[in-house]
Symmetry: D2
Subunit: 308 residues, 4 copies
């Protein structure tokens, strides 16, 4: 009963924890939609910025949990999520029964399941809802959310997520949102390196890059990295390869997501030969000056000719 009364009661305060590059614009979009926000972050400047736009700022996740029965978290990695939920000043210290906890961080699905169990013990409900789309999509409320958790609570989550995203997809039990995100990004990574290798080989064999891209895109080699985000400068406009690989999705972030894919594959004894090699390649790139470039710079990493 408490669950349904909460999820129907819209426009009551929403908690938001994690005010980084992604979290801040997401929280602002909730504010725009009329939701009072109770927020916190470890960095005072981040708290200040959101406060200036009308949010109420508190000191800790526990304080957020005292004041809000719907809370969204957007954090860098698994250890942060564990700390924010189960740490000494964590959400679960003061969470109210029936609270809906939505974690939009990209983390190991096993950690999502642990958090869900810990929340359940306190009478709260945890859902994982990682996003695809970057800072731009976050600002424009055009993110895609992949949601895992109890189906009965999905509608309540959807109400908030649609304020921040254009697509909200229900994936199944807790952890499947993370699983979908990780799977997509692994295939993306493979497709991007594959496209970079292929374009590079074709160019060395005498093909014009634009023509090769056109041939691939009308054939069975077609993929998102070849037709929407081509890594070869001069083939497409408006993509990072047209702008010296600035902006976009950083190689470090891709390496992090592939680390998650690697861990979940290892733990489920699933062979991922190409995913695993893609992980290694982006890992090496991180230490060779590509960490902050868009991940399509793998074309640049591979193309350089000997002796140059």
């Amino acid at each position: 009963a408490s669950l349904s009364s909460r999820s129907m009661a819209s426009k009551t305060p929403v908690g938001f924890i994690g005010l980084g590059n992604m979290g801040t614009p997401m929280a602002k979009n909730l504010l725009k939609n009329g939701y009072p926000i109770i927020a916190t972050d470890v960095f005072p400047e981040s708290r200040k910025e959101l406060q200036d736009t009308g949010a109420q700022v508190v000191d800790s996740p526990a304080d957020v949990a005292e004041k809000a029965d719907r809370i969204i978290t957007m954090l860098p990695s698994s250890p942060n999520v564990i700390e924010v939920y189960t740490g000494p000043n964590g959400i679960l210290k003061k969470v109210k029964k029936g609270t809906l906890l939505i974690d939009s961080s990209t983390i190991d699905p096993a950690v999502s399941r642990e958090m869900a169990l810990a929340a359940e013990k306190m009478g709260a409900v945890f859902m994982d809802a990682p996003v695809s789309g970057g800072v731009g999509a976050a600002s424009l409320a055009k993110l895609t959310f992949m949601v895992g958790g109890v189906e009965e609570e999905y509608q309540a989550a959807q109400e908030l997520l649609t304020c921040m995203g254009a697509n909200v997809v229900y994936c199944g039990q807790v952890g499947t949102g993370q699983a979908a995100k990780i799977c997509n990004n692994m295939l993306l990574a493979i497709g991007m390196i594959g496209t970079a290798e292929t374009m590079n080989l074709g160019i060395r064999l005498g093909l014009d890059p634009k023509l090769l891209a056109k041939i691939l895109n009308m054939s069975s080699g077609r993929c998102w990295s070849s037709d929407t985000y081509n890594p070869v400068p001069g083939v497409m406009e408006g993509v990072p390869s047209a702008n010296n690989y600035q902006g976009g999705f950083g190689t470090t972030l891709m390496a992090k997501d592939l680390g998650l894919a690697q861990n979940t594959a290892t733990n489920t004894k699933t062979p991922i030969p190409l995913g695993s090699l893609a992980h290694q390649i982006f890992r090496v790139m991180c230490s060779r000056g590509y960490a902050n470039k868009d991940f399509s710079s793998v074309f640049q990493f591979l193309r350089e000719e000997e002796g140059q």
Copy 2:
């Protein structure tokens, strides 16, 4: 002058060498379009079959070259092409000046360039025009031709190729047709293994395969193997995965094409980490019972669980 007179003179006899699963329907489509065919093949049954549909059959490539000034070859691999063109009874023994030689085999582009040089010495013109699309597309004249060679001769080649295919793409100098074919198939192989790994990982993480395919296809993981030829049984209809991986494009053929990619990459000192690993994977599959299954059976190869 001889060149242009030849290329304008349509409906004069066309030579056809290599009457296998692909060559026979291609030659028949030329017959349907009113071109007299002078054909040969090493296998008498293949010669007989085409003779029964109205082609004139002769004993050797040299004999074909005596009677036709436009010749198409469709052969299994580089050594066959070398033999048919430069062997003791090869085309070049009796080729007439100005003859147009179109090779639709999938071979090493370096061999195409060698053949072009040898043809040029005899006053003939060689173009490479490998195809994508299988036996079905060959029968329905729906192949895609990727053509490399002197641009002035492209129109003459196109006249014949459009009788056998739906798309004819000019790629550049001799060898670039092969290059385009090899590049496409390498990226296809990478995308297929990547899709198989990803679907398998997602399923083990609790995702429904149809839902996962839908999510990938609306996201950046999208590729031809995920949206048009999904390797997971039950996700799509009308693809080999829906029919126990019968039909389609055999693993052996994919391994052969990846061998070509590997060789051209090695010879041009081009790094192809994923292409190279994809080659190894299909190579191992060939010796583990997957040689004649469609290459999307890599999903089956990777999915099997331990202890089963």
Copy 3:
């Protein structure tokens, strides 16, 4: 003071938890050396077997901790270690101050560090001491122990470990024993697959396998897998390849150790391209009938020819 009094007091009871294929002969060797043993295991039959040789058997790790101030654990994987140390009937529930805890399981070094911290809170000392060498070496007290932990306690550990092994190597702080074990096995896995590929390639190129092994072993290709444990049947005697890959070190166990290497590499952002691919290869082998064969059967996995 309590620490040094304990570590000097030899022949007082030693606890032993985990009486599997490895643990049982290890505990027996301590008995042979005159140490009273207080043991437990989840399986009654295993407890019974050790009881029959003179050990005192108790119900739980906590009970062991009540009666012994030196305890050795030998368990299959990280979750078992966590349970045995920190579970509801775990060692740390009743551990005495100054107790020396030696874990010979092969697990993630991060878990070893966690256990060490948890033990420290209770006033106990934890060391990791994984072994190399199989069941045979365990019976003959010929194991090699790689030990991580506080250096002052090393001597006390060594006293017990030398009863069970021929080599005891101090590696550094807690977790470095695991690190050394994982590193060795990763390089072993790479060397074995490399040897298998190389021997297979050489044989196909016309070389006699014994001659090839001899050449490698006098050259820079030499490694333990080529000169001591050659994977090709007929090259050496007394190794698993001479006995249809029975006995030895199972593919599943190697896959498990490579999973640990993979996880530690991912978590420390260390690129391990070959280690990672080796992991994938043994993982695939596990699901294709090689799980219980010796890991040198990778030669058999790779050698099979197409069409056979």
Copy 4:
């Protein structure tokens, strides 16, 4: 008859073609052993240097073949060998019946077999005899020769090869010398990258590099790269890693040999997953500033930490 008279007649002139870093000291060692040398090279300076030490210099391989019935060739790659043997001024233009041709270049074994066939047509005998050991070993006559060819001629070859090397190993039919060389270097490459990865991982996990090397070398991880040529600075003296990776065996040369391994594996349909990935890694290194460093610099390539 002519063959045996030739092979017994020692101290008659020996031809030598290819006076590079390796060929020059090899030819000098033959001179030291009292063999008159008839030499040539494409570079006048190289011819001059050898002339100054007492060799007779001629203009072309054909000229060498006119004056010597035992000829050694030491050339950079397959195309050079083809040119020197079968080109317009090649050996086979003027070779005498019964001449013994020994090729010490490292090339594709298929090319060795082609040269052997071409030589046989002219009544000459061709053997492949590639070397291991670098410029230092060449100067000190400490090379290892791996010899392929007709067994009856092996003794005649051995007489000359022992003047230039410490080990001469008969491997089998023509091409098996190359096969043995390629196989050894492939396993060497795998072992070196494996050692570099392993040492790097161990260091990041807190192990002292010297201690880790010691542990590996007494365990199953042991290989030539860990115990004789360790890639980590500070672990060993007198190896390239102790000298900023100067000297030794250049990454470019290793990449070349791995290209040969890759090609022979592709052509014999042999899976070499780790060999293939090792090839790709050294290929990438070549274009990132490591081309002329010793191949053990792969440690440096992999170790660099992110953000540095």
